[in-house]
């Protein structure tokens, strides 16, 4: 672990902390509260200078901060709109250290699954074909709107979700959907103590460098998959690897650090901590792994097994589509 200038040369006094949300669900903001009573310790040493989820901050306020005013900004959510990109650029300038916090900022997260659809398809689903919708005028969001008070420029939806690192320089990444409280607290402690590694967008903090399988208690029996099962239709055998039982568990291709929470609860790992090892494309990594352990000796059987996997793309890339090699639907 190396210490660098990211926090050690900060101005004397309390640390200035920021948290911002872009294209995210809000779970990350809540995860910060998961540090529990440590929050009180945190407030002892740090002031929160930006956290739209809990307090009112105007863009103007932030824009008025001097550059580098925020010591550490935890940025959650991917970049989905022009507004989010602009704020990302703004926050970047105002922050000494910018952290991509959570799966969405790091890999696009669940919202990035929409990259498989075009903006038109998304608009149709949301504003027109949704059965619970009342939209008689077929109104759609606009980027320009003329009002008597003047013309409005409204944020524009991008054709796909980008990672935070796609638009600004990112210093660290904290994976998870959301990051686990204990890991978050470890990171914050390190930040406060000035013990953070050299900044680099590829450096992940708040996780380990193993795979979820490695910290999972379930035993591997070197058994090939005979049949794929969906978690809501079958009860797994305890203490035996879920994947070997035929449940599509992403533990093998997912970075550790969460403590294998899902497999502990009889649920498959969905891969929120991102790719493991040197792999850059978590979905393909899982595809290779799972494609290599099916028990088929004929093509018919192979196709049958492959057919049993429900929505492979959505499953393998649940959190990482924006980081994938192909990134989006053509």
């Amino acid at each position: 672990m190396t210490t660098n200038g990211a926090t050690s040369d900060r101005q004397p006094g309390k640390l200035r902390l920021g948290m911002y949300w872009a294209s995210s669900c809000g779970g990350c903001d809540i995860s910060l509260l998961e540090i529990g009573e440590h929050l009180l310790e945190l407030i002892e040493v740090a002031d929160i200078v930006l956290w739209p989820c809990v307090a009112d901050f105007k863009y103007r306020t932030v824009a008025d901060y001097p550059d580098g005013y925020i010591d550490v900004c935890l940025f959650n959510g991917g970049i989905r709109s022009s507004e989010q990109e602009q704020i990302a650029r703004l926050v970047r300038r105002k922050s000494r250290t910018l952290v991509a916090y959570g799966a969405c900022a790091m890999d696009g997260g669940i919202p990035a699954l929409a990259n498989l659809k075009s903006t038109r398809e998304i608009f149709d689903a949301v504003y027109h074909s949704n059965p619970s919708l009342q939209n008689p005028g077929h109104v759609e969001p606009q980027t320009h709107w003329a009002t008597p008070q003047g013309d409005l420029e409204l944020p524009r939806l991008y054709p796909q979700v980008l990672r935070l690192a796609d638009v600004v320089e990112v210093d660290y990444q904290i994976p998870g959907c959301p990051p686990v409280g204990t890991q978050v607290w470890k990171v914050l402690q390190a930040v406060v103590a000035g013990e953070v590694p050299a900044r680099n967008a590829a450096v992940r903090v708040g996780c380990d460098n193993r795979s979820v399988c490695d910290e999972c208690h379930r035993e591997k029996r070197k058994v090939r998959i005979k049949e794929f099962k969906r978690p809501h239709l079958a009860i797994p055998e305890p203490n035996w690897c879920l994947l070997e039982q035929g449940f599509v568990c992403l533990g093998a291709s997912t970075r550790s650090g969460c403590g294998a929470l899902c497999p502990k609860a009889e649920l498959t790992c969905r891969g929120c901590y991102g790719s493991a090892g040197l792999a850059t494309d978590q979905g393909t990594a899982m595809l290779s792994a799972i494609g290599s352990v099916m028990d088929a000796v004929t093509e018919e059987r192979a196709n049958e097994l492959v057919g049993q996997i429900a929505d492979p793309t959505g499953t393998f890339y649940r959190f990482s589509l924006a980081s994938s090699t192909l990134k989006a639907h053509r």
């Binding site: 863009y59 824009a63 008025d64 901060y65 970049i79 022009s82 507004e83 990109e85 602009q86 704020i87 650029r89 703004l90 300038r93 498989l116 420029e153 524009r156 991008y158 054709p159 796909q160 980008l162 690192a165 796609d166 638009v167 600004v168 320089e169 990112v170 210093d171 680099n200 967008a201 590829a202 792999a279 494309d281 979905g283 393909t284 990594a285 595809l287 290779s288 799972i290 494609g291 290599s292 088929a296 000796v297 004929t298 093509e299 192979a302 196709n303 097994l305 492959v306 996997i309 492979p312 793309t313 959505g314 393998f316 994938s324 090699t325 192909l326 990134k327 989006a328 639907h329 053509r330």
Partner: protein, 171 residues
């Protein structure tokens, strides 16, 4: 490593008239590569669009390599291995047999047509099959047209921000 991944605009975009499909073929050394040799010794003619990459076993072909090939501009990818039962390494091609249909499903979700990704067994004696396959794949890729993944992603703004309005950030 740069924090902001910069994508250069595609280096040399050919005019639509000059477009020729670019196809990468991964061939296992023991059967399919020898099958391609057999096509050569039999002087069977096929188009020049398929470039062969030799691997020891089709089981070595990581789906990631295929993704990368498409992402870098391949219009089509072929994976050929020994027929089931002929694998030089007992069952390497069994893995190919299960990976490739799965990959094919995923590629289709990304909008890559099934015509662009072909997975076939070619034995050492099947020079004619290999030549036929190359002709067929080249033709079907030609039919579906250029994929041009780098260009498309660049135009969609992947990896770089879009035109920004001076809005909200005036400090």
């Amino acid at each position: 490593m740069s924090q902001v991944e910069t994508v250069q605009p595609p280096a040399e975009t050919e005019t639509p008239l000059a477009w020729e499909p670019r196809i990468i073929a991964f061939l296992c050394y023991w059967c399919s590569y020898t099958g391609a040799d057999n096509a050569g010794t039999s002087r069977l003619k096929y188009p020049a669009n398929v470039d062969i990459i030799r691997v020891m076993c089709s089981g070595r072909v990581d789906p990631d390599l295929i993704m990368i090939a498409f992402a870098q501009g391949a219009d089509g990818v072929m994976v050929c291995g020994c027929h089931i039962g002929d694998c030089h390494y007992i069952a390497g091609n069994h893995k190919t047999m299960t990976r490739m249909p799965l990959l094919s499903r995923v590629l289709q979700d990304f909008g890559i047509e099934p015509e662009r990704f072909v997975h076939e067994w070619v034995s050492a004696a099947e020079g004619d099959k290999f030549a036929r396959l190359v002709r067929q794949v080249t033709e079907q890729v030609r039919q579906v047209g250029p994929l041009d993944w780098p260009g498309r992603m660049y135009r969609r703004g992947v990896g770089h921000g879009e035109d920004l309005q001076p809005w909200g950030d005036q400090a």
